[in-house]
Amino acid sequence: MDILILLLALFVLSLFLGVELITKVPPTLHTPLMSGTNAVSGITLVGALLAAGNDGSPMMVNILGFIAVTLATINVVGGYLVTNRMLAMFKRK
């Protein structure tokens, strides 16, 4: 139970931090914010790796893991690249 309450604390504090951070993002950057947070939510890749790469797991689990790795990688690679592409346009004057 100790771990659980710590995770819960982390979750709640992150929510508050998120509100503070996101409200300061100007409307001009709302689209890059969405694609950028999409990339961040690709952090599920970490969980996907655990499912896909565990040698002892049944094959079905590994296949589910493979799908998860693929989808999460699309989010990570696609998200960061497209965000970078957009932000580069905002940078130049």
Binding site: L17, G18, P27, L33, M34, T37, A52, G78, V82
Partner: protein, 481 residues
Amino acid sequence: MNENIVNFVYLIAGVLFILGIKGLTKPKTAVRGNMLSALGMLIAVVVTLLNMNTIDYSYIVAGVLVGSIVGSIMALRIQMTSMPQMVALLNGFGGGASLTIALAEYYTKLGTTPASFAELLNPVVADSAAFGAGPEGTVALLAIGLTVLIGALTLTGSLVAFAKLQELMKKSYGLPGGPIGNALFLIAALVAVALVVVNPGNVAAMVAVVALALLLGLFLVMPIGGADMPVVIALLNSYSGIAAALAGFILGNTVLIIAGSLVGTSGLILTRIMCVAMNRSLANVLFGKMAAGGETIDADEVYAGKVTSAQPDEVAMLLETAQRVVIVPGYGMAMAQAQHAVRELADAMEAKGVEVEYGIHPVAGRMPGHMNVLLAEAEVPYDNLVEMDRINPTFEDTDVVIVIGANDVTNPMARDVEGSPIYGMPILNVDKAKTVVVIKRSLSPGFAGLPNPLFAMDHTLMVYGDGKKAVVEMTTALNQA
């Protein structure tokens, strides 16, 4: 590797994500912020791989390879006008990833080795102890069930949003009974989650959660129209984050929780901003039609004999003598791919000493910030893109407003006609300017289905035709003047 070291590295990754989003608060620091965020992702992935004991790289390498190729192609080839579709797809993939992780974890902990997908339905003997000691097992099961539910719903909902934005699906279908039908589906899915928590071996209940949630995603988004998509995309963005955070609870993984909750709040805040900008509640966007209030307004009555039309070269003459011009873009500008043409017109005006700014309504376009990205692509400096609250007081000192492809967000009925379905929605007060030029294909109504009295005002000129062509003709005429 020591678990403490792994968690410490996850903490660093989490901090980098936070700094990354902080960078997005200013255009100048945004690129660096995105890089920091990507760096956080890299170290989180590397430390995870280093920490795995018995590792079989074949599935990982295959997944990363396929994902990288698809992701790069999408990111590098997508047109800026299609960015809402891209974000919709990414939301869906995020939901799908959380869904499959939760299912994989479920079957791992069950400890069964189903030989085929058909065998998945067979019930197994298992209790929550397999998922953790005491209450931890119950919480883990609940987290798995909810991750599956939200992940699956986000997956199909986002695919429908994509199809709508891409105009593959034009009609709106919904469950009979509307919100009640959806509520029944949601309740059924939650009951199935509860069954899994009570008896983890009830595999059929888990399959039911997946099926019900996939269907619910379809039914939730299918009835929603195109102009409400900014809200839907922002909300699905939030769901994909919440699903990731829940997956963090399943795995006891700190960085998933931090990142997931940041994404979750980001989506929720954007959803709220969009709803406020339309003066509608979230429930109204998701389940309601536009309020049918007020007597139906006859378009002919509003427009009859009062609409003045003009040619692009006549507008150019007006622009030449103007001191201050505000351009108000809408989804029509994206449809016509007119952003570069608009920038060239602004350049031509600036060359003649005209002050040019852009008035951006929060819900212009199909996603938050859509217009800003398009104009940034056309190399319009971001300082010239002015938010609604700051541009509105300046319209009285503005000689000409050019409205291109925007309709409802300029409709003065939202401000003046109590009882109108859009009454109370904040609008750009373009009618306060000395002259309003509206570039539009016809007098057809916008998404709200209402006539726009702005078009019939004495100081409004309608320029009919394709947005890009009209703007190019104005530029040519202005340059020759």
